[in-house]
Amino acid sequence: MLDKNKLDWIYNKLFTIRFFEERIKKIAKEKSVPGYLHTCIGSEAICVGVMAALNKDDWISSTYRNHGHAIAKDCNLNQITSEIYGRSTGICKGRGGSMHISDFDRGMLGSFGIVAAGPPVVLGAALQEKINNGSKNSVSFFGDGAIHNGAFHEAAGLAKLWNIPMLFVCENNGYAEATATDWHLNTKELSDISKAYDMIAYSGNGNDVFEVFNLTNKALKESRNKQTPIFLEFKNYRFSGQYEGDTQLYQPEEEIENAKKNDPIKLAIDNAKNHNLTKDDIEKYKKNALDTVNSAFDFADTQPWPKGEDALEEVYVNYPREVN
């Protein structure tokens, strides 16, 4: 049985991510934030389940679809929101935007806009841990579409060859943009991709936060014990479009309806009683999460814009500004 603190954390995060994304979707419709937004409704259990198995300072990489990872990695929600709003107190000082929400101090190596850019970077962090006998875990998140990209393959091959403990976590959410996974897969199972590297692989239900948590825990231990990378596939469904504004016409209504039965938030609520959580507990989590989200947006709304010239900061370490 999970301890209460952990359960509180898990449920709070699940609701926070869901409420945050729902709020962002609304704001996106009103066109009141700049730039692209890739929300992750349907991925909450993967974000939270994996992160629940990690330590605070473990390394992860994320993608443009990073809000859930950032929230689950305990990044500051006010700063996240401020970043999405393009304000100077944003988590990346307004330079990143929604696609690049990331906080190195929380172990986020980066949210990469280039598909499959993350796995090699995480391999490097894991290599560093290995060389320095470090204890941090290293986990790369990517989508089903990324498994076709050469950078993923090169990272996987080197990780296996060098016996690097790390997790390749593939979120199989049924779509890469407008392309269905069952069309783009060459193999019966997505995780068969790991056979090219004789890499241990497990698949799990990405809608069940506890299954995700347990499988990740198991994989982390095995990966460390055997000093080898492990491939984890979590199946879920992308309720969000590729980005806000996507018509999603290619996602059949029956498919969405079916997927709703396994909505990770719904499942977590259904599972609550197994963890001795009451309806009241759930209501408390929800209220908590909603408050957190609301105050983040209130915060962001009042934050100052950066100055234009701030664009010149921090390109390099050892000289503060580039003149032009």
Partner: protein
């Protein structure tokens, strides 16, 4: 004459090229869209790329010629090279030019060099259509221009239209061209429009265009920068400064003569390029003018470019990053006081 957006003009050029030459094919990620869900009503042509530019092509020309790919740019760019050598005229879409780095080898070492290094027997009639440019609040990895990466490489041609008219005419040419062409579309120009005749003839690559005649200063403007050059020129009329605006349209080959003729007349040059400054098109054009028109110059060639930084996300910073009509105007005033 019909008014078209750049987006429509490009779609028109594609349709026309598909109709005229059955060897034309298109490959890219979600250039049709909805793959695996075709059975679902109305979704067989669900996307047309992220900007909808290729929408309708799949329905018109079918899946043999309009091919959705996986996220494997090195794979399908290499395939375009092989298909081009053996008789097709493939167009590949690089969704954002920011992804150039994952398939740069296919362009730099294969597309650009096979003809030369294998003795001149092959040709590689392929086009890379790609989306460039800042101003969309799209952040550091979806906003670059990277014109100069491709322009540097011998064997490639590089084209970047400003308006719908040029977009159509130059794309028609690029598809008919027997060499690999990088065709760069600016995301902030897609919805701009102008008159485009239905029977527009292909516009030859390597020919620039005088967008405005003038006598005091030559502004060489790269793609979207023509907008700001025109704004600045209008404003500068109040100061009795007459600007000549040149849009080279094609960067490799470059219409040097058109530029030199203008410089001879004005003796003053401002080059406006949205790219990062170092080794940019602005640098290249400036260096050519310095070498070939020195005695015509009344002052040094001014480059107005983005700073040497990635593209920032937040609107005030991104606006600062992009060259502005104000910067152009100030530079022109300074030149004419000097």
């Amino acid at each position: 004459m019909p008014i078209k957006t750049v987006k429509e003009a490009i779609n028109d050029a594609l349709v026309q090229s598909f109709e005229n030459d059955k060897n034309v094919i298109l490959m890219g990620e979600d250039i049709a869209g909805g793959k695996g869900r075709e059975q679902y009503r109305g979704t067989q042509d669900a996307w047309g790329g992220p900007f909808g530019v290729t929408q309708g092509l799949f329905t018109k020309f079918g899946g043999e010629r309009v091919r959705d790919t996986t996220i494997a740019e090195a794979g399908f760019f290499g395939a375009a090279v092989g298909a081009a050598m053996t008789g097709l005229r493939p167009i590949v879409e690089l969704m954002y030019v920011d992804f150039a780095g994952v398939c740069f080898d296919q362009m730099m070492n294969q597309a650009a060099k096979v003809r030369y290094m294998f003795g001149g027997k092959q040709k590689v009639p392929m086009v890379v259509r790609t989306v460039v440019g800042a101003g969309f609040r799209a952040g550091s990895e979806h906003s670059q221009t990277l014109y100069s990466l491709y322009t540097h490489i011998p064997g490639l041609k590089v084209v970047a239209p400003y308006d719908a008219y040029d977009a159509k005419g130059l794309l028609l040419s690029s598809i008919q061209d027997d060499d690999p062409v990088i065709f760069m579309e600016h995301k902030r120009l897609y919805m701009t429009s102008c008159e485009v005749p239905d029977d527009l003839k292909p516009i030859p690559l390597g020919k620039g265009k005088i967008r405005k005649n003038g006598s005091d200063v030559t502004i060489v403007a790269i793609q979207r920068m023509n907008l700001f050059a025109e704004e600045a020129a209008k404003e500068l009329e109040n100061n009795n400064i007459s600007c000549e605006i040149i849009d080279p349209r094609s960067y490799s080959p470059l219409d040097e003569d058109l530029i030199y003729t203008s410089v001879k007349k004005t003796g003053r040059v401002i080059i406006v390029d949205e790219s990062n400054p170092k080794c940019s098109l602005a640098s290249e054009i400036s260096s050519l003018i310095s070498e070939n028109c020195f005695s015509d110059l009344k002052s040094g060639v001014i480059k107005i470019t983005a700073p040497h930084t990635p593209v920032p996300f937040s609107p005030p910073m991104e606006d600062f990053y992009i060259p502005s009509s104000k910067k152009i105007g100030n530079a022109a005033k300074e030149l004419l006081n000097a």
